[in-house]
Symmetry: C2
């Protein structure tokens, strides 16, 4: 029984073609029935690529493959399957990755090292490789510039809605486009999540510059979200630049010419990342945690994550209870510099606690109203310094238990 | 509506008197109705005391009080209330602690610094001090050597059963007794938990020696359990030695004469700690995680805690799914040295995965049977070194959400 669509879902935007890329998806029957589970993108010759990956010490075979392939800086194809993560599958997993890359490179006519791969789904089961390679030729034959929605849908696992975003920007007066799509719902935590995200632009940018932009952009987007504190073995975010746009040459340093592009990219990454949280398993509320006044930015982020990952804070939010006592607990458990008697806490913009106790005359009514909404804002001022950070999460509900107590059955 | 008693509950053992201590409990009406919520113990003159406390940076006023009082090494009284944690209550909280200690010291006839205090319950609400001090004289008048069960019941909050343990040991040929009782159910994580535990022995031991024993004993007991990864602001474990037993003088180093006593104390601490996990909020299964082959003991413990705290592992156990893929994920997310291709995982003693993939010919049947039981055993061999650690936790169920989504209402 598929889960109901998240009440926090946003509609899929219209994704225009991006020069230099064609996409598509098919039903390969890897695990699911009656839905697509294999997507492919083919990129124009000369496409550059950047990537960031899970920090989990037990990554899947596709992550190992992509990390190695990335050193070439060039990409001609992307193959992603859902239903099976090809993680902890040993020799068979490595062979499956090699065979998939070989099959795609034959169809596209490129070195295998220019084929990028990702898999998402169950861990520890051997990928049914032949179903995948059997489906590839027809998939390749059907690629189109309009394939974005199909691609976004094919990579879903426990996702309840497809996630995509689009932006435009100008480089040297010429318009360039950025389209992206992502999946992720549970096992979401920095760095990063059971999270796959793919962004394609028609800008022409050298791979090292692309990598710098992506590594910066991920900080306040995919590395600032958490659903359940569990870090996937498969997290993959790839950024492809086809070079089809006709803007002037960008210097290796990027510089002022890239300002608008960088802003558009960062916005798109944040858009995709928030959509992942909006589809957090069982999520009924989107929660933003702002920590200010911390000893440092790093410290602020740790405190924000301790709050965002606290099961007691998350269940209180699910129960629409502005239980700031649990927020105090979570601040204290982070182990970061904190002084109970300087701490201030606001929910929905209303300061409830200040200087180590409840605010005199505190009126709960506006906070109770805020807690009944879909979007919850928690602000913690540590009163120590200028460090600040924001993290997004969702509440912890019966839906999370339902989904994860019976995922394999 | 009170939650059903945990299916993992154990019966309360008969607690014999311990020389030098009298206990009791009353209904002070602090928060609950129709149940006791205030307990007191009075100790003989000369009683020594040791303690360990929460590492949370935002501790409650009673924790601050006890930390300071501990430097004297002497105790004559213990006062514990449930229903209100007196945490994040600022000046009023500090005054409440002082006034309670003053009232008790008047009744007992001792310095206020020999009164130890603990509070558990809601955070951030001012303790209704007058109810507490009003109830104290009658409570004190009714203390008895038989008051153990009453004491164990009065300190419960979301606990579904009272928790106590008793042991005997010999010191220099003379029998000594140890009785202990504890509370804790949610907000349980090292170091330590919304966990209060009090142990009394009639042994005669100097305070510094008592402290060394307790600090060692906590490592494999209260610091090896986790329910939800949330560390309370109130955790307090106190060990009192009344000196009523007539054993020969123990040298300051303890030495061989204390071997049996130390073993009995450590056993009693582990007994109490496991009872806390057995009453984990919503717990249906008790889970033991053994990590072996780690680079160090510290590393083993961190990996064990990553597994024990993973919402995805815990929900899989609730669903009776031996989902070792999620265990791989949790090992990898710990950030400790781990080599995917050396990793081995067993559930219920059956090795499912070894050297980076599923064991050839793996038969799930005995594991499926094990998962249907009440006590689950997970073993992870990292294959790197000699470090090992064990941690106990429980599954994550709908019950946890029920209890914590509506605690204050």
């Amino acid at each position: 029984m598929p889960a109901a669509v998240s009440p926090l879902a946003l509609p899929l935007p219209e994704l225009p073609p991006v020069g230099g890329v064609r996409l598509g998806a098919v039903e390969a029957g890897i695990r699911y029935r009656g839905r697509t589970d294999l997507m492919m993108a083919e990129f124009a010759a000369g496409t550059t690529v950047a990537g960031v990956f899970t920090q989990n010490r037990c990554p899947g075979a596709p992550v190992d493959w992509c990390r190695a392939a990335l050193s070439g800086g060039r990409a001609r194809a992307l193959i992603v399957n859902s239903g099976n993560a090809n993680v902890f599958t040993g020799h068979a997993g490595r062979e499956a990755v090699k065979a998939t890359a070989a099959a795609a490179s034959g169809l596209v006519g490129c070195p295998a090292r220019q084929v990028f791969l990702a898999s998402t789904g169950v861990i520890g089961e051997v990928l049914p490789l032949e179903r995948l390679t059997t489906a590839l030729p027809a998939l390749h034959a059907g690629l189109s510039e309009q394939g974005w929605e199909a691609a976004a849908r094919a990579i879903m696992t426990t996702d309840t809605f497809p996630k995509a975003a689009t932006r435009t920007a100008r480089i040297g007066g010429e318009e360039v486009r950025l389209n992206g799509f992502a999946k992720g719902s549970g096992m979401i935590a920095p760095d990063m999540a059971t999270m796959l995200a793919f962004v394609v632009t028609d800008a022409k940018l050298p791979a090292p510059l692309l990598q710098r932009l992506l590594s910066q952009g991920v900080e306040d987007s995919f590395n600032a979200i958490t659903v359940d504190s569990d870090t996937s073995t498969s997290d993959t975010l790839l950024l492809f630049a086809t070079g089809a746009a006709r803007h002037p040459r960008v210097p290796p340093s990027g510089g002022a010419m890239l300002r608008a592009f960088r802003a558009a990219l960062f916005e798109l990454l944040a858009d995709l990342a928030l959509k992942v949280v909006r589809d957090g398993e069982g999520a009924q509320k989107l929660v933003r945690v702002d920590v200010i006044g911390a000893a440092s930015r790093r410290s602020a982020r740790r405190v924000a994550l301790a709050i965002a990952n606290s099961p007691l804070v998350k269940t209180a939010i699910a129960g629409e209870d502005a239980n700031w006592g649990r927020i105090v607990m979570a601040v204290g458990k982070a182990g970061e510099p904190a002084d109970r008697d300087r701490l201030a806490i606001a929910v929905g913009g209303v300061w409830m606690a200040r200087q180590g106790s409840v605010v005199p005359g505190y009126d709960e009514a506006p906070v109770v109203r805020h807690m009944k909404g879909r979007e919850i804002e928690i602000t913690v001022d540590l009163g120590l310094g200028a460090g600040r950070a924001s993290v997004w999460t969702c509440d912890l509900t019966h839906g999370y238990i339902d989904i994860n107590g019976s995922y394999r059955s």
